[in-house]
């Protein structure tokens, strides 16, 4: 599957395209097929995202997982600071990242 990601313009937060908006959680990302580029252009023009780009991902029972390690780290947070990730209280939250 192909999913769309970028950073929130005012905050810089990592965000994922959900089909009708943006979420901080990669689990809510949807397959954009071949529509990623036009969605990215429209959303950037509307200043709802910065630096949007399309990536490959794998559909899993827990939701989409980015194919590349860089985007997996983006999805959760720094591997060396679990306290600063999106799920700081879940000790297994990063098991799929590395």
């Amino acid at each position: 599957m192909r999913i769309l990601t970028g950073n929130d313009l005012p905050t810089g937060d990592v965000i994922w395209w959900t089909g009708d908006g943006w979420s901080r959680h990669v689990e809510e990302a949807v397959d954009v097929a071949d529509q990623g580029e036009p969605i990215a252009r429209a959303e950037e023009a509307a200043r709802r995202v910065n630096g949007a780009y399309v990536i490959d991902a794998t559909e899993t029972p827990d939701g989409p997982r980015p194919a590349h390690i860089k985007d997996r780290i983006r999805a959760l947070g720094p591997t060396v600071r679990p306290d600063l990730t999106l799920k700081p209280v879940d000790p297994n939250a990063g098991s799929w990242v590395i």
Partner: protein
Amino acid sequence: MYKYDQYDQAIVDARVDEFRDQVRRRLAGQITEDQFKPLRLKNGLYLQLHAYMLRVAIPYGTLNGKQMRMLGHIARKYDRGYGHFTTRQNIQYNWIKLQDAPDILADLATVEMHAIQTSGESIRNLSSDQYAGAAADEIADPRPWAELLRQATTFHPEFSYLPRKFKIAVTAADEDRAAIRLHDIGLKLVRNAAGELGFEVYIGGGMGRTPFVAPLIRPFLPAANLFSYLEAALRVWNRNGRRDNIHKQRIKILVHDLGQEEFTRQVEAEWQHILGNASDVPLVEVERIATHFAPPPFETGLSDAIDRSDPDFALWVDQNVKPHKAPGYAIVNISLKPVGGIPGDVSAEQIDVIADLAERYSFDELRATHAQNIVLPHVRKRDLYELWTALADAGLATPNLDLISDIIACPGLDYCSLANARSIPVAQKIADRFADLGRQRELGELKLKISGCINACGHHHAGHIGILGVDRKGTENYQLLLGGSGAEDASLGKITGPGFNEDGIVDAVERVTDKYLAVRQEGERFLDTYRRVGFEPFKEAIYG
């Protein structure tokens, strides 16, 4: 240390106002990201993996307690409670919001700080010897010259659109603690046979994709001509430097392509052309700047004795405390490399502690080092124990300066959008493997440096042992290099062979250190042994 005059403050304040308006226009959709990006980069604001990242300039690594406390305030108010000291004596914040950036710059301006020229194709924040003004082996304080260049090059129109970024380091001691030969321009303050002050000028060094040790372009440049000579060198580069390929744009490529002799000829010719056109800064201005760097009022008659009865304290003194030029004083290194920690990271609370200790024990002065540690430059020896106790209480008394766990590591793939592999976990695993301090001290001086990509922010080319993280088909892989040095005996490390995974690179480092212990001779550092026995015995030990 240097105090802003009305012009400095007006420039920085105006820049804050300008950037505030640029951010407002970006958020309002009046300018695009393509238009905004070069503007934010000129103010040190990057977009990294998780958020915006702000790099704050610490000119030549020098700051006072009030400024340090402001860095803690920014960490606490605008970031996530910590900052990261970089390999260029700056500090970075990893979780900045664009909408907060103007307020941060405004806060910084209240303590004479900014983020100007910490990014982009400009002359970057100048670096220097972290022991400047305190070192027993320096001929003069190099910082007035660094400050002169800071002032002369900030917003200089000729240097605002250079082919690529440009880094300058200034030192004044035979021991090179600023890696001057790995800079675009490295300057070493020297005296000639007549006792006149001048500079050895090295041009064309650098790390990154194509590393070079800078050749000596001029063995003695009269100090009064510093700016005109640098202007000549930059003009030759500006005129001839390639702008068609980002990987070929640094001045080191031009020096290499032209050759040392031809590059020198062109610089000398350009210099003769501009000499006398009053581009040099009058020495009276240098002297005015130098008054800001007058030595603090050192007490006289102090004892050099240190009570070493506490063995842990004695260990810290032996490892982290260095000779000072004033009797009764010492230079204290605060390691930001505890086992299990992140190299260069420091919490807001620790920043506050360091600020307090600088004010109390070091004439309100401290330094950031390119090795990602902090220095208190002027501490009375009789205060060392009290200081050490306070540092230990704050988790800042790790006695490992220049040992294998004193690792330089870039943020790597945990934070950096350019990185191919993570650096920090590798540093942590190596530090953990060698956690036994006795083992570290047995190995002696061993500078291990890790970069998460070819851009070499972690100085892997200059590590006695260097590690370069690469992306091998989507998997992190680590190459090992041996024999680099950023010191006065500068050299570039050599890649040993095929890379390793995260655990494999730790094992490989251990095989290298085991080999060193097996073949070293009395008094040899790792680097000395490597240079004596050569590459092959270590390669054999690594790969069998």
